[in-house]
Amino acid sequence: MESAISLDAAYGPSEDVVVREIEGELIIVPLASGMGDLEDELFTLNETGRAVWARLDGRKPLRAIVGELAGEFEAPEGAIEQDVMGLLEELVRRKMILRKG
């Protein structure tokens, strides 16, 4: 199935989540219903996920974010792009981030 995520689009956090940093963990807390399963869970991101999340400012195109990450992490740009798209699909599906531009 083709990804609904566009590398040329900009994404940013939804106002329906609260993002908290506690003891070094970035925790995403759903505020509105329908973001988790049954009882809505909290979510936490690993180091890679955090690196992506920190760049989701609603202005920067995803392609630029992939480029920045390729410069920061020792991984092929294609692999990074695939991982970023995967994470974005999950976050968009859960309405935690929205397409902003």
């Binding site: 609260v18 993002v19 908290r20 506690i22 003891e23 070094g24 963990e25 925790i27 995403i28 807390v29 759903p30 505020l31 509105a32 219903s33 988790g36 399963d37 049954l38 009882e39 809505d40 869970e41 909290l42 979510f43 936490t44 991101l45 690993n46 890679t48 996920g49 992506v52 991982d83 995967g86 994470l87 974005l88 699909e89 999950e90 976050l91």
Partner: protein, 416 residues
């Protein structure tokens, strides 16, 4: 493969502690008693004040004070807050407090009797879910039984309306029961009904070992609570309803958490805190002893957690009766004796509470780790008793046999 499966994002189901790789937050959970007032006047309640108690209302924390407490809790890393009472929904500012908590990124658990849930409030819970299941106490299966407990002639229908509103909005909740003379014979019916409640995943819990008034404010009510208490044999009979595996479960529990506490009073305190209706930090919602209460008005949650709580945790028992009995008792994990109950019953932190002692001993006899008449604090080999139960029992106290027999397995209850 989703990002969650791939490992960039991780879901954290309710109550999971493995979130923290290194340090834990200073405050993991917070209980806030929003009011001691209640729309009901339940026979057995250790807290309730009348809904219209003007003095209590005047002394309660203001909306701003509660918001400040919530904000500080969040800044200390708190992930979840429980709103309790009294009846928390009785506060006119409940919605504002609730939404504030959720916007701070806190999960919210609400203890309620459901009677004050309005269509608007149910809609709020639908749009901004608490994230933790609401816990609703149900006082009876009929208006007659329920209202003879609550003392409120409109409470049964109101509570059922509240539950229907939650169901219609898909707000998850669990229900809990209470075992009192008017409801004791309704347990089977209640349990059958709970199986139809979508949020229920197992048997309901019951309030059945009632605490005395935690503010030691009403001896007449204490007398009534004492009169409502189950005697130990009846308690064990009700516990045996949980199935023939229950004794083994209890033995496993005692084996895991057993051990004599010595002079240590507070084995239960962790990284959670409580705030009473008037803005005072308590280590436990039941415990109002002045030495264990800290006024947040003159301090902070941080100071309460970092400076005050450790001092309470270090308190030691000094009462010879406690040290001789509770301090040496291997049933500590089975017994509800604690400083809060000692306070409610005796006004001290370290006085044995006979009622809970009797319950624990009856349970221990039932699960085969004490012989009738034995006192647990006189047993020097408690660990061995747990590993190798001495008594043969089948389905409760009435099945007790006369002699002692060693039992090598949980299902080998055979006479020697």
């Amino acid at each position: 493969m989703s990002a969650a499966e791939k490992g960039f994002a991780r879901k954290i189901p309710a109550g999971r502690a493995e979130l923290w790789k290194s340090g834990r937050p200073r405050l993991a959970r917070l209980d806030i008693e929003l009011t001691e007032r209640c729309n009901n006047a339940c026979l057995h309640c250790s807290v309730n004040l009348p809904a219209g108690d003007v003095d209590a209302r005047r002394r309660e924390s203001t909306t701003a004070e509660i918001k400040n407490i919530l904000a500080e809790a969040a800044s200390l890393g708190c992930l979840g807050v429980r709103f309790t009472g009294g009846e928390p929904l009785l506060r006119e500012d409940f919605e504002e407090i609730y939404v504030t908590a959720r916007k701070l990124g806190l999960r919210v658990r609400i203890f309620t009797n459901a009677a004050l849930i309005t269509p608007h409030l149910a809609e709020v819970f639908e749009k901004i879910p608490p994230l933790d299941k609401m816990e609703v106490t149900v006082y009876g299966m009929t208006a007659g039984s329920s209202e003879s407990v609550t003392g409120n002639p409109a409470s049964f229908e109101a509570a059922r309306r509240g539950l229907a509103l939650l169901l219609s909005r898909g707000v998850p909740f669990v229900v809990k029961g209470v075992v009192l003379p008017p409801t004791k014979d309704e347990m089977d019916r209640f349990e059958a009904w709970t199986r139809e409640v979508p949020g229920m995943t197992g048997s309901p819990s019951y309030a059945m070992l009632f605490d005395l008034r935690s503010r030691r404010d009403d001896e007449a009510k204490n007398g009534r609570i004492r009169s409502l208490r189950l005697d130990p044999a009846e308690y064990v009979r009700l516990e045996s309803r949980l199935g023939e595996g229950r004794p083994a479960e209890l033995r496993a529990f005692v084996a895991r958490f057993g051990g004599c506490p010595g002079d240590r009073l507070f084995g239960c305190l962790s990284d959670a805190g409580c705030v009473d209706a008037y803005g005072r930090f308590q280590v436990c919602l039941l415990l109002r002893h002045p030495d264990t209460v800290y006024d947040l008005g003159g301090g902070s949650l941080r100071a309460a957690m970092e400076e005050f709580l450790p001092r309470v945790r270090d308190m030691r028992a000094a009462n010879p009766a406690y040290l001789e009995r509770c301090g040496r008792c291997f049933l500590k994990s089975l017994c509800l004796q604690c400083p809060a109950r000692s306070w409610a019953e005796h006004g001290t932190l370290d006085t044995p509470v006979e009622y809970f002692c009797g319950i624990a001993h009856a349970q221990a006899e039932w699960i085969g780790i004490l012989a009738p008449g034995e006192k647990a604090w006189e047993i020097s080999d408690g660990r061995r008793r747990i590993e190798r139960p001495i008594l043969r029992r089948r389905n409760g106290p009435e099945a007790q046999t006369n002699g002692l027999a060693e039992c090598k397995g949980e299902k080998t209850w055979k006479a020697r």
